[in-house]
Amino acid sequence: MDITESPENVEFRAAARTWLLANATPRTESSVALPLDEHVAAAMAWQKTLQAHGWAGISWPEAFGGRGESSLRASIFNEEMSRFEQTLGPLTVAVGMVAPTLMAHGTPKQQQHLAAILRGDELWCQLFSEPGAGSDLAALATRAELDGDEWVVNGQKVWTSLGQFAQYGILLARTDPTVPKHKGITYFIVDMNDPGIEVRPLVQMTGHAHFNETFLTDVRIPVENVVGEVGNGWAITRTTLTAERSSIAGGGAGWSVEGLIELAREQGRADDPLVRQALARAHSRSEVMRVLNLRLRTAIANKRMPGREALIMKLAYARHWVSTTDSAMSLLGAQGMLAGSDAPHDESWHQAFLNQYAIRLGGGTDEVQQNIMGELGLGLPREPSTDRDIPWKDLPK
């Protein structure tokens, strides 16, 4: 065991910070939140800048255009970057989920997307959830039927993050309804410009339309866009979701604690014993995530799947987010209830507070994570289920 940062990594961190200070805007000087389209454009431009300066794909294999370094280094860079205004948030699906999935399961042709993602040229979205298939994702009903060299897809997806801006999507559809639900699902790459795709934005209570409903009508997907084997989509999905969970808390939570301490000082309450308890709790939570991240990176470095660590990180991050934004709102008092341009701190705490639902739901609800942990960590028997072995078409709908 050795959790000291190696001299090489200390140097790497310093270099990252120096470069960021010269090329990015510190988070504390945050400007008013951008409209969503500008936010997306800024993220893509930022990815392009990172790529141009050699800071993109730090832990990607060199074969895919990356630097081939450790995942620890990538997370050091993310930690440093989290203290700046610039974010790759809108590229989470592309960089954090699609890329690892294509590296593991894609054909050489599909892997050509990797270079474009690295350059910030492609925004991707995820077409998994459906109105009738959320926590029970495997119940999805979107159908894909083979017609010559193409799959013809019909169905409806929901909670498509940034679907209105994406060029490509990863799509789960049912290719065989005659087998049990987990077994008849296939994983596709879909071109979001296909005329059969209609994306309808849903406005969230933050005022932004981050999510969309997506309607697929006779969407034609070439057979070469199947990722992995036909019918093997569920297994590939697991790679995507584990990647999602580890990327959610990837930048650490140190920035949020620093922000909270700053806010307490600014409100003249850093000496209030109640406030100090809240600050200390936030610090303790963030420490758990920081050190857990070291465990997670160790697992990756030693070629173990960091399943448990990623699940715990994700849960810890969601709880931290809820609790920290709650403390911030409490510090802001009545001012915290002002919104839009009237809100203090350019609405940043307010938006973070309202966004807590997204952190709790993203990558699976807290309850789903806890169920998995019960099975994985404690070997608890699965809940009895009536539908695991019945052909999907025979399930009551």
Binding site: A139, Q204, L332, A334, Q335, G336, M337, A339, Y357, T365
Partner: protein, 366 residues
Amino acid sequence: MNFDLSDEQQVVKDLATRIFDDLATPERVRDVCADGGHDADLWQALADAGLLGLCLPETVGGVDLGSGMGMVELCLITEQQGRRVAPVPLACAVVAARCIANFLPAEAELLARFVAGESIITAALAEPGRNDPFTPGITATTVDGGLRLVGDKPAVAALSQATHVLVPARHEDANVVALVETSAEGVHIEALVTTNHESQGHLTIDTVIPAARIITDAAALDQLVWHTLVAHCAIQLGVAEGAVALAAEHVSTREQFNRPLSAFQAVSQRAADGYIMTEALRTTVLNASWQCDHGEDPRADTLAAAYWASEGTQQVVLGAQHLHGGLGADTDHPVHRQFLWGMQYASTLGNASTHLERLGRLIAHG
């Protein structure tokens, strides 16, 4: 002792329920919140039904105070408002009108206009920072013919719609409350965007108020603050009720893994928790409103209710939203408004922590 509502109270509650159910539909609330955050039609309907004057003297068109209509009845009404998250400044306005009826009896004409729905009165109570409404940030100095008020107040309910606002101010060593016309010179109003999209405004003031419109009795500010707080608790009770009802319906009908969500204990127990919390809250709100009407000192009871209203309602609306999954944050689904309202009122006139701090001081020192 009888904790059940009287027949008259049940009539008030039923009437309010019907009006809010009929008029504060999710579609209407959405439209109003997108356009200023005050439902003038609903306000007029409340006036026409006699609900604005319910707790005011008969002489101004209200029901006689002697008949016993007071904060209990107002809370029955604001509870229904909260259940339907209807954007009207009921709590603040009715409490302000009662304050005028008590302390400025010469203003009968204004009250008559208020009861008829023609004139909205509000009160500037919220203070930034530590949320202590008893240390007003506006100062009053004696000048010829009255007091000159200078200062500003953030977050005044329905300020843009109000014709009058009660403004607490510090005058020498005491607090006074001034009745201010919003159209007066030296009164500046700026509309604000709030979390729950109800109309609120920022008041900046530098004007002279005649002595006849100044209340020097310290009881006025006490009554304004504690009664508004109780009426807000009832709003929160209604907000929680509405959230639990939406969650129960959602989890009973939405299926995953071939059964309704409610068949999973992680779901059903959280919904049940919301129900239990709401019923506990109802108990303390009814008690606090009763103490406002009949008790000697409503402070401890009000603070206990306000603590549960802040802390409990937040838990309930958070749980209800979570049980809705992604739908819970979607502005096309009504449950997100319960969330926003729960959060808004949990930080209005104090929050869970400041309520506990005040209550702790009261009880620890005996």
